[in-house]
C-alpha cells in the first residue's frame, strides 16, 4: 500500500488551507440545512436528561449506563454556558467533528503526504456516518477526535522521534479512556504496534508506554471501582445480539456509506469482490506496506477483530458507533491506497469514491437515515390528541427520554413496565404474569390509553396482543423507525360515555 515519502511532506500551503476551510463550511452548512432540525433520538434524549443533572448525579447515572463521564460533563457545562436547546447540545458534537477534519489532515500529512491528508480529510468531511454523529448529542465525535489526536502524537513519536509528543499523547489517551471504553482498543492496538515495530521508536519509549499505562490504570481504577460499587452497570448493558459476519461487513459499509436502507445496504455489501480489484490495482512496483500503513491497518483490524471476537465469545458489544475511532485509519488507508494507482486511474478512483460517498450523504441528509426516530412527530401527535382523561403508556420504559422532551400535552405519561428513573437499580423487567395487574394499576382512572411502542425489547407483541384482546382499539398510527401509537378505549361507564350515549 501506499506508501511513499512525499516530497511535499512538511509544508503547509494556502491551497490546503482553502480546501480545509471549504470542507468545514460544507459540513457546517450541511448540518444547519439538513441535520440540525431532525427529531431528537432516544440516545440524545437520554444524554440531555443525564446532563441536566448535577455533576455528581451525572457520574452515577453515566456509570450505571455503561459509559464513561467525560462527554457528559463537558456537555453539562456546555449547556450551562450556551443554553439548553437541542441545537446547542448538538453544536458541541458538530464543533468537535469540525476540529477533527484538520486533525485528520495533519495525521495524513504526517503519515503520507499533503495530498493523502487532504483526500482523507475530504472523505471524512463527506462521510455520511461521521455527519450523522456530528449531529447527535452523544460522545462519538469527541471519541473520534481524541483518537485522531492520540494517533497523531503516537505517530510523531515513532516517525519523527519526537519525544515531546509523549505528553500530548498521554493527555489524549487519558481523555480518550474517559470518553469511551473502546478507546482502550486504540491503546491496545498501539501496544501491539510497539511490540511489532519496536525498532522504530526512540530510546525510552518502553518506559513511556509503561508509564502511560500505569497512569491510566491509576486514574481509571477509581472509576471502575465506583462503577462496581454502584452495581447497576450490569443491569444497563445494551441489549445486543451476537454479531455475525454480516454485521462485520455492514460496519465497514456504514463507515463509508453511512446508514442506508436494507435493500441498498445489501447491494453495497454484496459488492465485496470489488475490494479485490482495489487491492489488485494497488499491486505496483516499488510500493510496499509502509510502517504508517501497518499502523493504521493494525488500528483498524485489531480493533474490529477484537470487538467482533469478544462479542462472539464473551458478550455482544459490536456496534459500529463504538468503533468510530477506527474511521480515520480506514480513510487514511483508502486514501493512501488510491494514491498509489497510476495517475489517471488514481484520479478516477478518487472521484468515484467521492461521488459515491456524496450520493450516500445526500440520501442520508435528504430522507433522514434509516435509524431516524421520529419521537418529535409522535409526541406532537399525542400532545394534540391525548386528553386529560387519557393516559399515555410508553414501552419500553427508556423511550420516556425523547417523548417527555417533546411532549407538552394534558395526558399523563407512564411506562410499562413501570419505572422510576430516580430510584437506583435496573429497569424492571416485563412480566406477562403481572401484566393484567400492572395495566389495571396504570389505567384505573382513565377512559382511554395511548400505547407508544418502539425499540422492541422482546415483549412488544405480548403487550399489543393483551390490549387487542381486552380493549377496543380506536386508532393506530405508525411513525418512522418503527414507532407505533395505538389508542384503546378502556371503559364505557364514564361520564363522557354516558353523556355521549344520551
Amino acid at each position: 500500500m501506499a506508501l511513499y515519502q512525499s516530497r511535499e511532506a512538511g509544508h503547509g500551503g494556502m491551497f490546503d488551507a482553502l480546501i480545509l476551510i471549504g470542507l468545514l463550511s460544507f459540513v457546517t452548512a450541511l448540518s444547519l440545512l439538513f441535520f440540525a432540525d431532525q427529531s431528537l433520538r432516544l440516545d440524545e434524549a437520554q444524554s440531555l436528561w443525564q446532563t441536566s443533572r448535577s455533576p455528581g448525579a451525572i457520574l452515577s447515572t453515566v456509570a450505571a449506563d455503561v459509559h464513561v463521564p467525560l462527554h457528559h460533563l463537558l456537555l453539562h457545562f456546555w449547556r450551562l454556558l450556551f443554553g439548553e436547546g437541542v441545537e446547542v447540545a448538538r453544536a458541541l458534537s458538530l464543533i468537535l467533528y469540525l476540529f477533527n477534519i484538520p486533525a485528520l489532515y495533519l495525521l495524513g500529512r504526517l503519515a503520507y503526504s499533503r495530498s493523502v491528508g487532504i483526500f482523507a480529510a475530504t472523505l471524512f468531511a463527506i462521510s455520511p456516518f461521521m455527519n450523522w454523529y456530528a449531529n447527535e448529542i452523544r460522545m462519538y465525535t469527541l471519541f473520534a477526535l481524541l483518537a485522531t489526536l492520540n494517533q497523531y502524537f503516537f505517530m510523531r513519536v515513532f516517525k519523527l522521534k519526537d519525544t515531546l509528543a509523549w505528553t500530548p499523547y498521554v493527555f489524549t489517551a487519558i481523555l480518550g479512556v474517559f470518553t469511551h471504553y473502546f478507546f482502550f482498543l486504540n491503546l491496545a492496538a498501539q501496544g501491539a504496534f510497539y511490540a511489532l515495530y519496536r525498532h522504530l521508536f526512540p530510546n525510552g519509549s518502553r518506559t513511556h508506554l509503561i508509564g502511560t499505562a500505569a497512569l491510566i490504570f491509576a486514574l481509571f481504577t477509581p472509576w471502575v471501582l465506583y462503577t462496581l460499587l454502584l452495581g447497576e452497570a450490569v443491569y444497563q448493558q445494551p441489549a445486543l445480539s451476537s454479531p455475525t459476519t454480516v454485521d462485520f461487513f455492514n460496519t465497514l459499509a456504514e463507515f463509508i456509506f453511512g446508514f442506508q436502507g436494507a435493500q441498498l445496504n445489501t447491494v453495497i455489501v454484496s459488492l465485496w469482490p470489488i475490494a479485490l480489484i482495489v487491492a489488485f490495482l494497488a499491486l505496483r512496483k516499488n510500493v510496499s506496506l509502509s510502517n504508517e500503513s501497518a499502523y493504521f491497518l493494525l488500528i483498524l483490524l485489531f480493533s474490529l477483530g477484537t470487538a467482533f471476537v469478544f462479542s462472539v465469545l464473551v458478550r455482544p458489544v459490536f456496534l459500529s458507533r463504538y468503533l468510530i475511532f477506527t474511521i480515520p485509519a480506514l480513510y487514511l488507508l483508502l486514501s493512501a491506497l488510491l494514491s498509489v494507482y497510476p495517475r489517471p486511474l488514481s484520479r478516477i478512483a478518487k472521484e468515484v469514491t467521492v461521488a459515491l460517498m456524496l450520493i450516500a450523504l445526500a440520501a442520508s441528509a435528504l430522507r433522514g437515515a434509516s435509524v431516524e426516530e421520529e419521537y418529535r412527530a409522535a409526541s406532537a401527535y399525542l400532545a394534540q390528541h391525548a386528553q386529560a382523561h387519557d393516559v399515555i403508556i410508553l414501552s419500553p420504559p427508556f423511550t420516556l427520554y425523547p417523548v417527555e422532551y417533546y411532549y407538552r400535552g394534558l395526558a399523563p405519561i407512564t411506562t410499562l413496565p413501570q419505572w422510576d428513573r430516580y430510584v437506583a437499580g435496573p429497569i424492571p423487567s416485563f412480566s406477562a404474569e403481572t401484566l393484567e395487574e400492572d395495566v389495571a394499576a396504570l389505567t384505573e382512572s382513565y377512559e382511554r390509553v395511548w400505547i407508544v411502542l418502539s425499540f422492541d425489547q422482546g415483549y412488544e407483541e405480548d403487550l399489543r396482543l393483551y390490549f387487542e384482546e381486552n380493549y377496543h382499539r380506536i386508532e393506530r398510527l405508525d411513525f418512522p423507525s418503527d414507532i407505533t401509537i395505538l389508542l384503546y378505549r378502556l371503559r364505557y361507564d364514564t361520564q363522557n360515555a354516558r353523556a355521549a350515549a344520551m
Binding site: 455475525t244 499491486l283 516499488n286
Partner: protein, 514 residues
C-alpha cells in the same frame, strides 16, 4: 546507482517472513477445508470445479511458500581453471543484435574462451543466414552453421557440442548480451565437480520499451526473483536455455540438450537433476536480453514455455522419475503446473456467467461469510507474493498471468494430445498486423458478461446474488482489459515513464547488491 541498475537488482532482493508465510498458508488451508466440509453446496458440478480450482491454488501457494521459505542458499565457490566455449544460438535474428552479443561475448573477462555463433539460419530457411558467418569473421568469433535440420535449438547446441571440446559451455540466445564478468562470476561454482549448470536471470533490458515488454518482464520478476532463488536450497534450479554455464560432461551424460521437447532447457535440467547433478541459480543479472515487444510475440513465447513446461507433466512426469528427490519432484511439478492457471481462471471466470445465464451457483452461502474467509486468505496470499518479491510483483504481472488463459489452454491441449508444436523463436522486432486476434476470448468474455448481467437483472432484479456475481465479473473484466489493452498498436510502441524508486526499495536493493 541509476534506475536501470536498480531494475537489475531490486527483484533479486527477495525477502522472507516466515510468520507471514505461515499465516498465509494457514488462511489458505482454513478456507479450503471450510469450502470442502462446511459450505453448503449449490450445483454439484460447479462445486466440484470450484474444489478442483481451489486445490490447485492451494498447491500453488503451498509450493510457493515452500520454495521461497529460504532464498539465501549459496553453494561453495572456489578457484577453478577451466576453459569455456561460448555458444550464441542464432536463427535469423537481425545482424545488429547478433553483433552486439558476439562483441560482448568476446569481451568477457576470462582467459580461456572461444566464441561460437551457432547458426541455424540456414536450416530455418532464413534469408540472412550468411550474416552470421560474416559477423563471426569480422569480429573474430567462429561460426558453426548447421546444414542438417532437426531438434530446433537443442539440435543446434548438440551439433556444436560435437564440434567443440571445452569442459564448460556458456549458452546465450542471440539477443542476450553477457556482461564482461559473466564467466568470472559463474565459473567458480564449478569448483564442485558435481555442479552441472549455473543459471543467471533472463533479464530484459528493453522492459521499459512498451506496455507488453514491461508487463512481460514484471511477470518474469517473480520467477527470477524469489522462485529461482528458493529453488537453490532444494537443488532444483530451472535451466532456462540462455545466460547459463553448463558442464560438458554433465550435458553429454544426458545425451545433450533434449531435442524432443520445445522446452529443451527445462527438460534437460530435469534429466541432469535426475542423475544427481547439482545446479545453482546465481541471482545476479549477468546478461541482458530482449522481451517480446508486442502481443503476438508474447503469445508465441508464452505458448512455447507453457507447451514445454507441460511436457514435464504429460511426458516426463517427475513423480515417476527415480533419480529425483521428493523436493525436486515437487519443484518440477510446481513449475510445470503453473500453466494450468489458465484453465482454472477460465473456470472461475465462467462462474458469474453461469449464474447470469442459468442461475447456477457452486455454493449456497451467505456472501459475507464467504468474504470473511476468502478475503483474508487472498490478501495474505497477495502480500506473501509481494513481500517475497521485494514488491516487484505488479497488477500487470498478475493480469497477464491470469488473462493469458487462452494461451495456457491451447498449450494444455497441445501437450495432452502430444501434438507437435514448432519451436518458434520469440521475435526480436515488432511484428506487423493487428493483435486483436489474440484477445478474442477476452473480448468475448466482456460481451458475454455485459449481456448476461442484463439477463440476470431481468430474471431476479438487483438481488444480492446478481450484485455479487456482477462484482466478480467486473473483476475479471478489469483483468482481461489489461490484456486487451496489450493488443492496441500503441501498447507495443510506447516508451514508458521511468521507474520512481522509493528510498525503502532502494535500500533493500542496495543491501542485496552489496
Amino acid at each position: 546507482m541509476d534506475e536501470q541498475q536498480y531494475a537489475r537488482t531490486a527483484f533479486l532482493a527477495t525477502r522472507s517472513d516466515k510468520v507471514l508465510f505461515a499465516l498465509s498458508a494457514a488462511a489458505a488451508v482454513f478456507y479450503f477445508f471450510l469450502l470442502l466440509l462446511y459450505f453448503p453446496i449449490g450445483n454439484r458440478t460447479l462445486f466440484m470445479l470450484l474444489v478442483i480450482g481451489q486445490s490447485f491454488h492451494l498447491w500453488q501457494l503451498l509450493t510457493f511458500i515452500h520454495t521461497v521459505w529460504d532464498t539465501e542458499h549459496e553453494p561453495v565457490a572456489g578457484y577453478v581453471d577451466l576453459s569455456v566455449d561460448v555458444f550464441i544460438t542464432v536463427t535469423g535474428e537481425p545482424r545488429s543484435i547478433i553483433e552486439e552479443t558476439v562483441r560482448a561475448a568476446l569481451a568477457m573477462e576470462y582467459p580461456h574462451t572461444r566464441v561460437y555463433i551457432l547458426n541455424d539460419g540456414y536450416v530455418a530457411g532464413k534469408d540472412n543466414w550468411r550474416e552470421s558467418v560474416e559477423v563471426a569473421r569480422e569480429l573474430g568469433a567462429e561460426c558453426i552453421t548447421r546444414t542438417k535440420k532437426g531438434g530446433a535449438k537443442a539440435g543446434n547446441i548438440n551439433n556444436a557440442l560435437r564440434q567443440t571440446n571445452a569442459p564448460l559451455i556458456a549458452i546465450f540466445d542471440a539477443d542476450h548480451v553477457p556482461h564482461p564478468d559473466f564467466l568470472r562470476k559463474c565459473v567458480r561454482y564449478f569448483a564442485d565437480p558435481a555442479m552441472a549448470f549455473v543459471q543467471t536471470p533472463q533479464f530484459y533490458k528493453n522492459a521499459q520499451d512498451s506496455y507488453v515488454s514491461k508487463s512481460a518482464w514484471e511477470q518474469q520478476e517473480l520467477f527470477f526473483g524469489p522462485i529461482c532463488k528458493g529453488k537453490n536450497r532444494l537443488n532444483a534450479a530451472t535451466m532456462c536455455g540462455t545466460n547459463m554455464l553448463v558442464r560438458r560432461a554433465a550435458l553429454e551424460e544426458v545425451g545433450g540438450m533434449a531435442e524432443e521437447s520445445i522446452a529443451e532447457d527445462f527438460v534437460t535440467g530435469l534429466f541432469l537433476h535426475e542423475r544427481s547433478w547439482k545446479s545453482y541459480y546465481l541471482p545476479e543479472v549477468l546478461a541482458e536480453g530482449l522481451a517480446p515487444h508486442d502481443l503476438g510475440s508474447y503469445y508465441k513465447q508464452q505458448f512455447r514455455w507453457a507447451r514445454g513446461a507441460l511436457d514435464i507433466i504429460f511426458r516426463y512426469n517427475p513423480l515417476f522419475r527415480r533419480g529425483l528427490s521428493w523436493t525436486q519432484k515437487m519443484q518440477y511439478l510446481a513449475s510445470a503446473s503453473f500453466y494450468f492457471t489458465g484453465l482454472i481462471v477460465a473456470v472461475y471466470a465462467s462462474l458469474p456467467l453461469l449464474f447470469f445465464y442459468f442461475g447456477l451457483v457452486p455454493l449456497e452461502i451467505a456472501g459475507m461469510l464467504l468474504a470473511s474467509v476468502l478475503l483474508p486468505y487472498l490478501f495474505l496470499t497477495l502480500y506473501t507474493i509481494q513481500l517475497s518479491s521485494n514488491f516487484s510483483y505488479t497488477f500487470n504481472a498478475l493480469a497477464f498471468s491470469m488473462a493469458a488463459f487462452n494461451v495456457h489452454i491451447a498449450a494444455i491441449f497441445a501437450a495432452a494430445l502430444r501434438r507437435t508444436s514448432a519451436f518458434l523463436v520469440t521475435p526480436k522486432e515488432r511484428e506487423g498486423g493487428s493483435a486483436f486476434g489474440y484477445v478474442v476470448p477476452q473480448m468475448l468474455y466482456v460481451a458475454l458478461a455485459a449481456a448476461g448481467l442484463i439477463i440476470a437483472l431481468e430474471r431476479e432484479g438487483l438481488s444480492a446474488s446478481v450484485v455479487n456475481n456482477a462484482a466478480w465479473a467486473v473483476m475479471y473484466v478489469v483483468i482481461f482489459a489489461t490484456f486487451i489493452r496489450a493488443a492496441l498498436p500503441q501498447s507495443s510502441a510506447r516508451r514508458l515513464p521511468s521507474l520512481n524508486l522509493s528510498p525503502q526499495i532502494k535500500r533493500v536493493a542496495d543491501q542485496a547488491r552489496r
